[in-house]
Subunit: 346 residues, 4 copies
């Protein structure tokens, strides 16, 4: 059994991690911690766990490193990088659901997060845990940067086109729509029920921190520096991300040309499902699952491709992919514990 | 492996059944049928199953009875009772998610459903599959009437009080609120998005067909004929039932008196969770799970008890309980395949 | 033109009041105040007013009393009663949307609100502003206690039955469902979008402060002391209240007997609409309006009546009725400025 | 009083028209017609009108033309063009909420609507009723093509940039999100509550019929043929459209350069509100109103502009703008009857 610890278990991503790990056949949850709720029974914080007994402890990463084979971090940016040290990594593996180890270029990190990076010594060792793309790099590593939710959906949607140089890299636009869980459990007027319900808005236009993460990974894929437009939207629903991606095609490709490119990279990827021609992804079909659904249309009038990708932001976009990374790290079947279809209607 | 068939697999309850059975470790789904979608791949009807291949067949219950250890029926009332015969029951077990075998009193059935009963010869053999109450009667049977959604929630909420004669049986009122999946997948103006969203209404006041079902079962429990008021409400959410139950207390009971009564019947029931004093059930804490959460308040000013119970109408109120019945029938651990906490937030 | 002031203009009820008064043909809004947003332009707080200029001032009720013909108070309980004095009432009229002047029995106030009453000298002068019932008492008064939202809906639904002594007063149960705006604009985990959306719960069972308000008014109507059960529910929608009311009938009344009772009191009431037999109120049909829709069913099996009433909690349940009270006080057509049908679908 | 008739009064746009016209001070509704509900009282179809008596008649446009000063048509495409004749236009004015007279290029109409145009003789006379742009052309005309919902929002968002040639016309992408009322009141699985709720999807990618309408109008503005990408999305809310528009800037414009361009065209437009820098439109701030809110961001990294525009699809996107057109045609204050802020929260 893989002994796991979760630091920051009481946010939405942490809670989804608890839910998934609690039924994972190869896992024992050793320790869960919470700054806000230490000493409190988990079933009083998340009453869906009313039937189990598990107390939130005060965080002590050194102690946890002794007891756990892997520690998941679900913390605000800047915090994880202050906790993880080489000594910790000598004792346990780290899967960080936050942003601190996602960007290899620390200058970019500092520019977008407006804070110095706290763990420059460890950063080079971190692998960007987008499983379908970086599986081989993940194996055997000690620290994995679990990708952001928007990022996962955006990169998976565009990767084959970028890798195969089928699109003009200067024309990429990603218009993304997220459910409200993406904003976390912290209260604010912006997430007050009546302010969100029955309305949609764009926010952080051209300034969302997932932008450089998408750019860095797609730049690796293309071998060229990519600068793109990313616009997130707050959508009145709990879960789900839909990324609508636009780019000019470099050639007059047919539907099957593009399809072949996607198949080249994804045909053996269990968690990526291409929709049939004329069928577009909907977030409901991936909710509560680790799947990423991708569909595309070639607009002959403009010679653009429009790709839509859908994931569950808390599952494939956070906790599910974190467990997928764990499965890879511990060399067990990658689907273990996360192989469920969306629950629908829910 | 238990070979299972599902007749009527493309309604919401049928679909939830497919989802649960597909990941049940002891089950193989042999045949699924659909009148509306025969010949169509299930993943095109419910795209959350996009990654699997399974074709909906035309229904032939005789053939299925040869191949299946158990057949689930998810059909409109009046249809199941026309299909099940003694010959079928000699070959396979039946778990009927519809209404046809729930009422032992055929006259009551005919009065509320305004149609003669088609299987009077089989009716006496059918057991009302409310697992926590009728577990012993279910074992070894051939045909189980899986309870209605409102019914499951209402009976479980009131059973200990009725059984222990703590309430005045003439004063029972159940005010129930259901998500829209309770109305099924059939389209109508009444379930058109913009007509349901952001509004609540009562419907079928004093005339909903789950009323006699609740009355019959509670009458068995009390040994007296119970007539009660039941009011269903359509609530703007996909899933969940909350039953708010009122009754006058026969005595000035304390909180712990009542709690003892509930514990007497439920303390070993895994799927029934009593909330702590002052905490009331919410449908979100049971969504996507087989749990029934129950809480109560004693209103000293009126000497009434108010009990609230919450279930997921498609899970404990339909498919999950059907699988629980299957587990009992096939003598495997009752929790197998249905032991998951609610998914939250979803 | 009636010069009006609003103290507490930036809560949801205050904002609805601003919206209604801004288009009232006989009204000029003189002053609006806000504790949280003083000095800020109203169109930055509520961006639906982006096109108008109106700054929130610091509250000074004495100054406002000089300038305003009427002041609306939309304040937390205990605050209004600390502000209103006889001197204020000599200069202006007060319509209080809060709870402080609703209960004539100060002991009951103190018991339910757990605080002494701050204005016992003024309390006897206050009139309970349920317009359809107390219209004649309202005329010419100086201080009106605008009824609570649940209260308005509950009393209007039951008044004719109580007044005509058609129901057993000891059997009244009100099961009420409210949209989330009822909880106001103050942020909390309980009103965080993902915690409310897609779920329903009862809260403050047998302990909600609108209970004594309903009881006091219905006791006046019947001439007897009424004690009843009231259960509020939080419903996943922005606006609307549905009250489902139960009581045992004192006789075997026919549908038309009951209908006659309602007509006796309401046939000339523009804002009360009885639904046709078999049609039940839905909150969507009153949203954004001052109407109260009422329907009922006689359950012959139990000899109970079930009455459902629907209002918009922010309109008829707060700001709209406050304006209706103002219209009565200033002797203009009661419908002025509030005569609009529900906006649907919205 | 302007005598008005409405043909197709029982769809959502027709119903919103009834609601607005019923309280318009210069209007008398003479006749309303409905194919589905002829002979039925309007208050039984839309119960928010429960308090008024108005029967839906069978449509007879010739008779209506005699009695009405203006007839609004809210009909499926292809139907209006079969009804309107020169004889009708000699007797009354027509404001058509459908698509038939929006495209001046009949070939484009036939290509996108896959049907011949039925009124080629009248088409040249029709004016595209986007009031803020075509006000002067509308005056004195006999037939107005009321713009589509997506179209109104998209054109108003981009018009100044196109007119002032500040953007590269080949790079325009419009990613639009609509509430479900955009799909009308006709029932289908795609608008069944549980299929829409809590999910978002793109649909008709690169093939939605509002595309040529946007292109034609923007081409008029620019004097060049514009081909653009338009992607509509179905958003889980009743009302509202948000259009997120992307284009490459022709120069390195500052925020105030762009703002000046918008001000040049819109500073005196009451119904267009530019948001302050850093504030982005949200559909909730325009719901139930005729306003169009517009905000923009210059993305210096990509030299793109991102403009977001928000309207209420049933109001400014349909019925409200139709009334605005009527006001212009009949030379009364353009705001009459449609000057209300959004109702919030609703």
């Amino acid at each position: 059994m893989i002994k796991t610890g979760i630091i920051g278990a009481t946010g939405y991503a942490g809670s989804e991690l608890v839910r998934i790990l609690a039924s994972h056949p190869n896992v024992k949850i050793t320790t869960i911690t919470s700054q806000s709720y230490k000493g409190k029974n988990y079933g009083e914080i998340y009453e869906n766990f009313r039937h189990i007994e598990k107390v939130c402890e005060e965080e002590n990463i050194e102690e946890m490193a002794e007891k756990c084979d892997v520690i998941f971090l679900a913390l605000p940016h800047g915090v994880a990088s202050g906790k993880v040290t080489k000594e910790i990594l000598d004792k346990t593996k780290i899967i960080d659901l936050g942003a601190d180890f996602r960007l290899q270029d620390a200058k970019v990190y500092e520019k977008w997060y407006k804070t110095p990076h706290n763990a420059l010594d460890i950063l080079p060792e971190a692998v960007y845990g987008l499983c379908e793309i970086n599986r081989e790099k993940i194996k055997g590593k000690r620290i994995i940067a679990n990708p952001g939710c928007y990022t996962t959906c955006s990169i998976l949607s565009l990767y084959p086109l970028v890798k195969e140089k089928m699109i003009d890299l200067k024309t990429i636009i990603i218009d993304a729509k997220s459910g409200v869980t993406g904003a976390g459990r912290g209260i604010s007027l912006g997430t007050h029920y009546d302010e969100v319900n029955e309305s949609i808005k764009a926010y952080k236009i051209a300034s969302h921190r997932h932008t450089p993460e998408i750019e860095e990974q797609l730049s690796y894929a293309s071998g060229e520096d990519i600068v793109l437009s990313f616009t997130p939207h707050l959508t009145p629903m709990n879960r789900g991300i839909l990324a609508t991606c636009y780019a000019s095609l470099n050639n007059s490709y047919s539907y099957s040309d593009i399809k072949s490119a996607y198949n080249k990279y994804y045909k053996d990827e269990y968690f990526i499902r291409l929709t049939k021609e004329g069928i577009f992804p909907e977030t409901k079909w991936v909710k509560g699952s680790n799947f990423c659904d991708i569909g595309f249309v070639i607009d002959e009038r403009t010679n653009r491709i429009i790709v839509t990708g859908a994931i569950d932001n808390l599952y494939k976009g956070a906790a599910g992919q974190a467990v997928q990374n764990m499965n890879i790290l511990f060399d067990i079947d990658e689907k273990t514990g996360i192989d469920c279809p969306a629950i629908f209607p829910v």
